[in-house]
Symmetry: C2
Subunit: 231 residues, 2 copies
DNA sequence: CAGCGGATAATTTGATCATATTCTGGTGAA
DNA sequence: TTCACCAGAATATGATCAAATTATCCGCTG
């Protein structure tokens, strides 16, 4: 039984050995983050179990994680759903991001290398393409990855975690709003921000991100407000 | 009226309706929050399963939740443990709380009723008693409940969630620090804060809480710094 | 006679456990 | 030191039990 070569035989596939609950978690997370699960839409454990072709136990664990992160909500009875945000909730999120994102951007500017800047620029270019093509899903995903990348560059693991968790909360609403308004007049201060980063001007980069965040979130707030009235 | 007694054991337990995984979660959360699980200490699922006298499935779910909240850390291999904070991590937490706690306090001051103030005052009185008795565990728990109460009064569910999550991260370190320094010279600006709240001076209340937070967290930072060197 | 309300039955969903399988880390021998 | 084996832990499945929602039916009233 030649088992010595096992460590080398895995080189074809980088990480095929991720646990099922981790894979389920990532799938569900993406579903929530990019609005494929609409806010208020109820899901059942068994339903997801079938939909994703997995056992219940991994699905249960993934759902627990997402509930803990605020991405899902335990709806009292026996349903979990993506939370419906009130206008007040949006205000909270705006307040939090207005403070978190600029700080992380400042730190990222101080630490970013040339390669990092090139990566960010590439992401932003792809983002522009998605916008011009009217590719909503692509826009949402790339916009997230752009900001996520900034968080990672800031080398502040806890704050990055918090900021990442906030995305999980307003992601679904973002999708709803963009679905209504199209991808044309979306805020994109990324160009200003990147220019400031290249110049090493952390303060200007932070200011640009702040405007980007506020513009985007205000659109969400204004678009959400009538929803609360609709009921 | 067939009021048949279906369960014989339910009359003794007030809330047997809570699922096991929820109970396990609360127990573990308290263990982490108040430092009964020391930072760095590894725990196994099976170990906890025996220790708490429960099956593995509920324990697994509880652990997933705590990992998602940053209360526990998946240590690569097959151990989960309470995260060891670096001095940088503490700085992040100070930065976050310095911003979150005053804001929530401002909102709480604007919304607190007379009863709320009485409750907070009662909590603070108990807290003083715990300090004077050298009751470390009591201090930690009451201090947490005092701040938690403020968060709830702020009526900002998302930000309160975030703030609560931060406690889970520095709670274990707080225990370590207080264990070393005793309960005597602990910061307690609660009196100033309560006075400001009674006067309806939200700004002064926020300022007092900010000092309380910074003082406490700075002690943690200074006490943690040599720990990183110890290795 | 038709429509409605309440109670009960049935189906669906969730929670837990026992068990099989896989994987990791350590240990002992060559 | 290295390799093979072993012990133990974690993951994942299926079955079982409990609870709740939905569906059905019966009797009652207008």
């Amino acid at each position: 039984m030649p088992k010595a070569a096992q460590k080398f035989s895995t080189n074809t596939i980088p990480e095929p050995r991720l646990p099922a609950h981790e894979l389920i978690y990532r799938q569900l997370r993406a579903l929530v983050l990019f609005g494929d699960l609409a806010p208020g839409q109820a899901v059942t454990i068994q339903g997801l179990s079938e939909r994703l072709g997995a056992g219940m136990t991994p699905v249960r664990e993934a759902i627990r994680r997402l509930i803990a992160e605020g991405a899902l909500e335990f709806q009292g009875n026996r349903r979990v759903s993506v939370p419906l945000l009130s206008a007040d909730n949006i205000s909270e999120l705006i307040y939090a991001r207005q403070w978190l994102d600029p700080y992380l951007t400042t730190r990222a500017t101080e630490r970013a290398t040339g390669d990092d800047l090139a990566d960010l620029t590439a992401l932003d270019t792809e983002l522009d393409r998605a916008i011009s093509h009217g590719d909503l899903r692509g826009y949402l995903e790339l916009n997230y990855r752009f900001h996520k990348r900034l968080y990672d560059l800031a080398e502040a693991s806890i704050l990055a975690d918090v900021a990442d968790g906030l995305w999980l909360r307003f992601g679904p609403s973002l999708r709803v709003v963009c679905g209504r308004m199209g991808t044309q007049n979306l805020p994109d201060k990324h160009k200003d921000m990147l220019a400031a980063m290249r110049a090493g001007d952390a303060e200007a980069a932070a200011r640009a991100i702040r405007e980007d965040v506020v513009q985007g979130m205000e659109q969400v707030r204004q678009s959400i407000a009538p929803q609360a009235h609709a009921h």
